[in-house]
Symmetry: C2
Subunit: 544 residues, 2 copies
Amino acid sequence: MGALRLPSLTSIFAVSSGRSSLFLRRSNQLHVRKLTTTTKLFAQTTPATEVAPPESNQKPLAQEQGITPRSQDFNAWYLDVISQAELADYGPVRGTMVIRPYGYAIWEAIQDYLNIKFKETGHSNMYFPQFIPYSFIEKEASHVEGFSPELALVTVGGGKELEEKLVVRPTSETIVNHMFTQWIHSYRDLPLMINQWANVTRWEMRTKPFIRTLEFLWQEGHTAHATLEEAEKEAMQMIDVYTKFSYEEAAIPVIPGRKSRVETFAGADRTYTIEAMMGDCKALQAGTSHNLGQNFSRAFGTQFADENGQRQHVWQTSWAISTRFIGGIIMTHGDDAGLMLPPRLASVQVVIVPIWKKGNEKKEVLDAAVSIKDVLHTAGIKVKLDDSDQRTPGWKFNFWEMKGVPLRIEIGPRDVSSGSVVVSRRDIPGKPGKVFGISMEPSVLIPYVKEKLEEIQLSLLDKAKSFRDSNIVDVKSYDELKEAISQGKWARGPWVGSDEDELKVKEETGATIRCFPFEQPQGPNKCLMTGNPADEVAIFAKSY
Amino acid sequence: MGALRLPSLTSIFAVSSGRSSLFLRRSNQLHVRKLTTTTKLFAQTTPATEVAPPESNQKPLAQEQGITPRSQDFNAWYLDVISQAELADYGPVRGTMVIRPYGYAIWEAIQDYLNIKFKETGHSNMYFPQFIPYSFIEKEASHVEGFSPELALVTVGGGKELEEKLVVRPTSETIVNHMFTQWIHSYRDLPLMINQWANVTRWEMRTKPFIRTLEFLWQEGHTAHATLEEAEKEAMQMIDVYTKFSYEEAAIPVIPGRKSRVETFAGADRTYTIEAMMGDCKALQAGTSHNLGQNFSRAFGTQFADENGQRQHVWQTSWAISTRFIGGIIMTHGDDAGLMLPPRLASVQVVIVPIWKKGNEKKEVLDAAVSIKDVLHTAGIKVKLDDSDQRTPGWKFNFWEMKGVPLRIEIGPRDVSSGSVVVSRRDIPGKPGKVFGISMEPSVLIPYVKEKLEEIQLSLLDKAKSFRDSNIVDVKSYDELKEAISQGKWARGPWVGSDEDELKVKEETGATIRCFPFEQPQGPNKCLMTGNPADEVAIFAKSY
């Protein structure tokens, strides 16, 4: 429920929308002709594997293809990467998004990991209808206040005006509680722990692909428990699942913590969050887990008979991660050359680019490339062979770098003779990331590739951690906070301010409390705003 | 696009809706007290493993729980099974359905299988927005005619009346084509082959859980090709994938074939279908694959430059299987005792029911049961141990039979001593399906269980095949057709009748042409209606 709306995004979005993929595709086609330098390089007698990577010889392809440098305009860069790497496109309805196969594959990788974790922690998948009677939304007071400005309403069905308008689900707490009342009777029915993968609709005015769209995909977990303690434990468990996922799979060093009252979910007692620092230092709320207390169970009458036969309201949680997370991956790891995917979430972990000069070399090079592909595929590595005739090797190098593929294997005629290949890392540009003469022997190549993928995975996390830590400033006063925020950094400082104090910070600096991190410094402190004794530090930042 | 609406379903649905799961749950609770016979049996000194199955001693639990006998009222039986086996519940909005974990697990098994097949055949998953501008639907003439009576419209978003009303997707051909125009430029971009797993909305007036609901889940494949031949090959390939799935996974002997013009999808040149015979002999259209020709590409201007640089409209297909298929599984295999799941789609393939009489037996029985569970689980078998204290073994036997679990393993103190278990098949009721003294040794038990599961899988298919074949009548005249349909059977006969002839049959008998099956008899024939020479036989039946 991002309360902060960035005022400038609408116009940016509109501009970028004009630069359609048709336009970009044309510029790709033009580019093929421009790439004469690279083409020539590969037509020379220089051994293919010793040819310097195109990026060191010429202007990176990415920019020629229309990717704005990240440092120049972070937002334009972000939109360019999404378009060029074919992650998503704009849908015909304002603010909607088509998730293309290469972007959807990231979502599938996220689903594969989380689905296992959810089931391991005792949750079952199911599916609730997306149409919710309008009256349901009104039952929980703060819920209706938070969501009513964002609703899409179905008013006509089968050619007729409906008696009660229907809400297209913005989230499912209300309909979940309606059903829970039918399934929960005694303490033996608890805990009830379910999850659904679904689309949700929120009528956002300022949209941005993946980050904030009218419709998005997510999972929403919903649980009911007999005690507050169990619900609290569950809410904490799920934010922990998200945190581990972020670190281990997405290589994003999120900061888990508790939301302030102002930023708590509409209908929750407590909201836990994972906050990620994007490449422009803005914060992204990347996942949330709510302790809903008895707010919904009281509104809907979701009760159970306890062991003494007493009727009690259940204690509930809900928690979600959405396709927004894909935006977080792009903005955490990407660079001027385009996307950079963490190996564990990449649908293509290794791309093989075969290189041949004369016609008679083609067969032996391709045969070797196919055999390497099969070897890696059998070893469980996600590998793609780009054997198209349409593009030069140089073009392919840049294209797959732009698509963020973690490792590239190059193989030319001389490599075939020597039984070795060249391996290039996406995360280390140019020669330093390139290793020659890796044996094609499966017993050598497979462990080498696996080790490199692990190295890249860890290296991306380390790099993001360093970046994050170097951009968090510990502040002791409001002046220091303002200074840090004006420099585009995150400010961390002791806080016991009121809701009004928090809103004042937001108004004056554009920053909000992202969270009270779980990891807290030792010792007594004074609130940076009020000077009162403060038990906790809060992190303030501008956010998406 | 089921053209046939069964007039009586609304009232039935309304009645069953009144019998809520709350009511049924209460009847379960009452039942525990009724089960004294079984309780006593297990309190006697008779060795537990020699106790006759409850079904042979008393009225089956299923009926006491409120499952109407199948033979008495097929529709009531169907709704009872869905409710009792906890497959689904009614949503708060008329005609919507909540798919509960046990039902959703079947859908997940369907997804797991098909997702692999779709990817093996070159398709990528992606996601299109569900909101479609109303003007899109109007672009393809027969499409708007087919779908406009069934649309749900969003007219209000973010508190404001929308300028253009939005259709909640009933299917995605229109928005797919809108996007394809941006992605397809030359023959090199073809074929373009994608799939999405999504929810769709059709404002049906007469609904029935799984079979026809306002919102349902499905996959929809969409492809674009350079030639008619390629599109035709794709449409046939996908109906073949569905056919194999039905036979091999769902044990449903569908009849694949071509739809008549009258029954062809709104916007397609040809529709292929798989038709399944339900337990009441009604036909269920269980999956379709459409050759769309150039209908949508002409309406949306989806063109490509061919190898000669000429602009051509692409040739397209679309194909879908939905949660309706779950209804097909229930109505193909279920019996008076409840659901019967084919082992390959069952989320629980084996249930272990431990049996103990005295307190000191409990530990050794449970230890053995846990160890058997671990052994089977490690062998990749989906196994559940029902170790609850709340229910008697007899209750559990009936409960898991009602839930359609293919195999049950019973283990009591005497079994522990002898190192063996009792194995009961769901598909063979009573003693004949029960085998005593199967060794607990993993080297014996694992292959035994796997073999039995395979046997059940094949046996369900064989049984459904025999049932199907004994209920298809070859007819030579309209009188014979009417006779067959009035007996509730399928009629198969030579047909070159007109659309009007077909509609006349529907009006007079309630039957429609389900398909012209791919498998055709040899030799010349005369149309059963017109007497003209007929190349093909058609299958007529009443349908869901």
